[in-house]
Amino acid sequence: MDNLIDQFQLYRLRTKRDEDAFGRIYDRYIERIYRFVLLKLPSKEAAQDVTSEAFLRLWQYVQEEKGITNVRALLYRIARNLVVDYYRASSRTISIEQSVTFSLDVTSYDNEDRLSDQNKGKRLIEAKADLALIVERVSRLKEDYRDVLMLRLVDDLSFQDIAIVLDKKPGTVRVIFHRAMKVLDNLAQQNPDTPFHV
């Protein structure tokens, strides 16, 4: 259903020259793409730059009249490649721990709402800590395992979409996911005292 909505927007963009159709695509995916790159980049500013660039690249795809069968997967793929380019250009190494060292202002949507909801803030901090632990475990996995796990469990992409993002076959993605879960489970069993806040 999601893809159908996206395809309709692309159709309006191509045939009716409706620029608002691209705006609607932007609205649907801006938060997801921002979150996706934020977890991988060292700062909010870097995440904003990469997110903007991802949508510009998507527009280029549309202009070049390349067939786009899955907008969401394509956006994730573009964003992932831009993150790689970011580190390649700045000669930095990707540090998973660094990528999840949030500060409160990085995650603020509405400062007033956050400050007014202490429980929500506490929960958020705990969740971030858990996420950091998970990521730390995940970082011990092979890159493919890590990517598939995060895209599946955090970004909630289907195996089909993950296959497009990572340029693999859906069957391969499923196998990687199950193997990654097995490895992660083994890692968890090796550290039974990990204070996960379930």
């Binding site: 191509r14 921002y34 979150r35 904003q48 067939g67 969740a127 968890a188």
Partner: protein, 407 residues
């Protein structure tokens, strides 16, 4: 932690993670900047119907499906579209395609469609003749290319040309039998002119080709001359019919015959020179291990020489008939001479390949050949005599062979 627990945990993490949102102010500014850019780079003109259809297909059909269907679907669609009087991008784009291009089958399919839709046999013959002209242009394009696959493509193009020439020759028979004298004569005249041009241009193409590449082109050239002679035969047969008078003048017929005779004479001269050269090299003194091979070669040369003489005599007879205005016997003479020269060409090509192979497989012979040619004449007198006899046939011998044309 079990997988189930891990999944549950990850679910809660996911919920928390979704609390992460970008700054609203930044989103608003970024969105506005992006849409400004989109507005500025949107094409002004609305999409054509074709582009809209393509947009729908791109949006609804996976790209790999489109690629799979593209080939045969477009070929079939082009046939129906052309039948309805329209044209699509693929059909017009295929007009310039060459053998080996992926659009080439569409080009051929389009030609076949046009032939099917042409009911009159004479019109069909004229149309097919035009398509034969296309095969020539394709050959010229392939011959001029520097593609790695040039030999294969040249062979394919020459084969297609030869087959099409044979087809029009058969169609000419059908037209002669079923159409009016006028229609048959008009179609035959067109075919004669076209095939004469094709034969001449193929001769020019051959000059820039290797010996291996020439074989297939020679076959196509033979087919072109053969078809031209057949067309000329129809013209000669119909020239005195009331409704075909004026379609071809006596002078035009004479010119056509003269052109064909001259072409065959040039072929005879060229092949004779080549045959003598071959014979000369085979008697320059070689080691005994290869002498038998060269004797066989000389035997072939003797047959080739007598065949060339036969062809020459036949052409002289054709000229005499032309001078006496006995045109109806000329086509048979020309066809006989043409067939004789075709046989000589094939035999010569085969002999060349045998000679090349023997030089490669017997390196000792190559050294001995050089030495023997200057200081050591052939030691075996009998063999020498045989060689002399076979390479210099007497006039009597040749005359006897002329009276019995080779098969």
């Amino acid at each position: 932690m079990s997988n189930r627990e891990l999944r549950k945990f990850m679910g809660s993490v996911r919920q928390a993670e979704r609390m992460i949102k970008p700054d609203a102010a930044w989103v608003k500014a970024d969105r506005a900047a992006l849409l400004t850019h989109v507005r500025e780079t949107l094409p002004a003109s609305a999409l054509s119907f074709r582009a809209r259809m393509r947009a729908i297909i791109q949006s609804s059909v996976p790209s790999y499906v489109v690629q799979v269907l593209r080939g045969p679907a477009f070929a079939i669609l082009s046939i129906f579209t052309l039948a309805l009087g329209g044209s699509i991008a693929s059909v017009s784009a295929s007009e310039q395609s060459m053998p080996g291009d992926w659009l080439y089958p569409i080009k051929i399919a389009t030609e076949q469609t046009r032939l099917v839709l042409t009911s009159d046999k004479a019109d069909k013959l004229r149309l097919k003749t035009d398509f034969v002209g296309r095969r020539l242009e394709e050959m010229k394009g392939v011959a001029a290319s520097t593609n790695d696959k040039k030999p294969e493509r040249l062979k394919e193009a020459a084969g297609a040309l030869r087959r099409d020439l044979d087809t029009v020759k058969q169609q000419l028979t059908g037209v002669k039998e079923s159409s009016s004298f006028k229609d048959a004569s008009e179609a035959a005249k067109y075919l004669d002119q076209k095939s004469t041009t094709i034969a001449a241009e193929l001769g020019q193409i051959k000059q820039s080709l290797t010996d291996d590449e020439k074989d297939s082109v020679s076959e196509a050239q033979f087919a072109a001359v053969n078809t031209g002679v057949k067309a000329m035969e129809v013209l000669i047969e119909n020239k005195d019919q009331p409704d075909s008078r004026g379609i071809v003048t006596d002078q035009e017929l004479t010119d056509s015959i003269t052109t064909k005779v001259a072409s065959l004479e040039a072929d005879i001269a060229e092949t004779s020179e080549k045959i003598n050269f071959d014979v000369a090299s085979s008697t320059s003194g070689v080691a005994s291990t290869t002498q038998a091979l060269f004797l066989a070669d000389e035997t072939q040369s003797a047959t080739a020489t007598s065949t060339i003489l036969f062809a020459n005599m036949t052409l002289l007879e054709a000229k005499a008939l032309l001078e006496n205005n006995q045109l109806d016997q000329i086509p048979d003479k020309l066809l006989a001479a043409l067939q004789a020269m075709n046989d000589v060409d094939k035999a010569t090509q085969a002999a060349d390949k045998v000679t090349q192979a023997s030089l490669i497989t017997d390196p000792m012979t190559m050294g001995a050949t050089t030495t023997a040619s200057t200081t050591q004449p052939i030691s075996d007198g009998s063999q020498d005599t045989t060689a002399t006899t076979s390479t210099q046939p007497s006039q009597q011998d040749s005359a006897a062979q002329v009276s019995e044309p080779p098969q």
